[in-house]
């Protein structure tokens, strides 16, 4: 018990004195929230390459994808980061849900196996990230157990985080629901698809996560 507290205390203290030039920025969130779309948008804008493929079928990202040394010009100088795009966190993976998208049983089972490994890999990476963007779909109810668990975990580990309320280009979007659900956190409404408000996100990363 004391060990856990001691570890968190020293981690927080060290963070005060140790400002890294390049931050390891993990993209966490539930499945299909738009993590890879956001990673692609940032990577395309600043490096000219994409990170991974996106799809409406859940668990398209089943392995951790890393883009190194992304340099973003901001009003306050330069933001340097390694982007780590994580598979979506889920509490269940049912191969039958993939078959609803026309996938064969064999392919669906294989995808399910890879998806479970992806979730484990994403959780393991919590030990190695400096800061996190929690990407949420602002057309969905934000108060889910997965979101609550991710946020509680980051708080317990002393990892600074910003909530990204994604998909504001969708008319059903309600970023204010996310702000109301997690009032203690910085929430930046964006559209990873159109790039809206990305400048505000970069500014927030620089202010709160570096």
């Amino acid at each position: 018990m004391f060990d856990g507290f001691g570890k968190r205390f020293w981690k927080k203290l060290l963070r005060l004195f140790k400002r890294k030039k390049i931050i390891q920025l993990g993209f966490y969130g539930p499945v299909n929230a738009g993590k890879t779309t956001l990673a692609n948008r940032i990577s395309l804008d600043w490096l000219g390459t994409e990170v991974g493929t996106v799809s409406e079928i859940p668990h398209e990202t089943r392995h951790v994808q890393k883009v190194e040394n992304v340099r973003v010009a901001t009003d306050n100088g330069e933001l340097r980061m390694n982007i780590i795009d994580m598979p979506g966190i889920a509490t269940q993976v049912d191969f039958k849900s993939f078959q609803e998208y026309g996938m064969s049983e064999e392919d669906a089972k294989e995808r399910a196996k890879e998806a479970t490994k992806g979730v484990i890999e994403a959780i393991k990476w919590l030990d190695d990230v400096d800061a996190v963007l929690i990407v949420m779909d602002s057309t969905e109810d934000p108060y889910t157990q997965v979101n609550v668990t991710i946020i509680g975990n980051l708080e317990a580990r002393g990892i600074p985080a910003i909530i990204v309320a994604n998909k504001i280009d969708d008319e059903r979007a309600s970023p204010s629901s996310i702000e109301n659900a997690f009032p203690q956190h910085v929430v930046i409404p964006i559209s990873a698809r159109t790039g809206e408000n990305l400048d505000k996100l970069y500014q927030a990363i620089q202010e709160h996560l570096t």
Binding site: Q92, D94, A112, L126, Q145, G152, R157
Partner: protein, 136 residues
Amino acid sequence: MGIQVDFISSESLRSKGSVEKINMILEKIKNNVIVVLEDGLTPVEETELIEATMREIDTEDFHGIEFYRMDHKTTRLRDKIADYISGRKSGLTIVGSARIVEAIRKEPDYISMLAKLEEESSEKKKKRKSKKKGVK
């Protein structure tokens, strides 16, 4: 086939380490028991539960869990300090297999859980019973 709900007291949970707690929960859930924990898991334990669940998922019988923690907001300073030091966030927690628990929803004044009764085939029942007894 009926639904079994096991209530686990705070006292019983406190005597167990994280690994022991998670193994106990998963074993019950895999036997289609819905578990209600009087004392919630910490967020770190919750991720450990998700991780352990992912390892246990097989494509036929078990495809995950549904769970929900009702946050218990402490108001007494003493409790807040104790919670901070231990990293604990208490709150009644409901955990069940995704096969029988379809959804757990938070309403303004209550938590609503939708579970379904599933007819178990005799072959599946036999397999589950053998597994429980450790028979191969």
